[in-house]
Symmetry: C2
Subunit: 232 residues, 2 copies
């Protein structure tokens, strides 16, 4: 009786540990972060995480066994996606805990945002209100496919690759707020640095779509693909 209780407990904790196992590898975390931006084929996941397709496939298998991602086959490609918003919420939660607990991570993030004035001085709600009224321009600098599968309200797609040639589209008399995949993504940082260099009033917003949604704010989904041709 006492022993059977131990067996049950061991089983229960072991099942939860399967989730832990899935998120104890940096590469798997990066894959989850990427999948928070929307459905992607293995090849692109591998390229964006800068690992081999085989390794990506192996890690995705692990995540699939933990039921955190699922695959969909379309033609020659296999598209992976998170099994639900709860997984994205979990990614936000574990990263938030790490930021709370690990001084090394705080230090690294601080260095990432070394130009403090480049960080958005607004709360999420404030940004939403000002974007709605048109006081600020919100730029989504991720690849267009990620913009299509979900973006912040009132944000316009402005992929980092196209920023230089589409500079004329942006007003110089309004503050410009750029966001990307989240706090660990460097795209918006790069965009803001370039924009400020070019004389714009640009700020970085640390949230990605997952963080935005996890805090209970609405996300828009594009009805159809964008005009833009370039897509990594």
């Amino acid at each position: 009786m006492k022993n059977s209780g131990r067996q049950v407990k061991d089983l229960l904790y072991a099942q939860v540990a399967r989730i832990g196992k899935a998120v104890c590898s940096p590469k798997r975390l990066e894959l989850i972060d990427l999948l928070c931006q929307g459905e992607k084929p293995v090849e692109r996941l591998a390229a964006e995480a800068q690992i081999s397709v085989k390794l990506a496939s192996a890690h995705l298998k692990e995540l699939r066994q933990a039921h955190m991602v699922e695959a969909r086959k379309e033609g020659k490609h296999v598209y992976y996606r998170l099994t639900g918003e709860a997984v994205a919420d979990f990614w936000v939660a574990i990263r938030s805990l790490a930021e709370d607990r690990l001084l090394e991570l705080r230090a690294a993030l601080a260095k990432l945002a070394e130009h403090a004035h480049e960080l958005t001085p607004m709360s999420r709600e404030e940004l939403l209100a000002r974007a709605k009224s048109g006081e600020v321009i919100v730029l989504d600098v991720r690849p267009p496919s990620e913009y299509v599968s979900g973006h912040l309200p009132y944000a316009q797609s402005m992929p980092l690759d196209e920023l230089k040639k589409r500079l004329a589209e942006l007003p110089r008399d309004k503050p410009v707020v750029a966001y990307c995949r989240g706090p660990f993504c460097l795209m918006s940082k790069e965009a803001v640095e370039y924009l400020n260099q070019e004389g714009f009033h640009a700020f970085r917003f640390e949230d990605g779509v997952a963080e935005w949604r996890a805090h209970g704010l609405p996300v828009e989904v594009a009805r159809q693909a964008l005009k833009s041709g370039a897509e990594g």
Copy 2:
């Protein structure tokens, strides 16, 4: 430039993976669950998780390096505790994700609550209201020390060991709701089975203090130790 970005990203994800590493072992999860009940010395943690003291110490060291627990030395004993409520919230979150995603875990939990009528048919808020009005009796069947470091409002301490000899203290005309450490703990299940056998109207409440607090509800802390002498 592109490469330095990779280095930064690798570092960031690796830091988060440290949290993942800390929670990829069933024993460490069990230790976290136990520490959610309050501060405990190594010896008791080892006994309750049914592992050797040395192994417990090793696991605690791992958790300490992830800054999820911290130690306090008092005389001959070393007391461990969580570094903050965020850690308890995280334990609730990862377990919740596991329950969502892993069918095996759902099945195991369902077997654990095989007598469906023994589960509380109330929400947290409802239980709180009825406990306040005295409509139901709420029993905390954990060891007294855990009751002292935090318990549900209006709950009285009734350790499982003392239940049989203190049966006369309980009214037979009111429903009795027992809770323990959380969904993975078997103490309240045992208590409820015994009480129903003895003719009481007893129900199990799956929350522990951590779950209760993580859902935003208030927790009471005892001002001083209880009269009871028995303590494991």
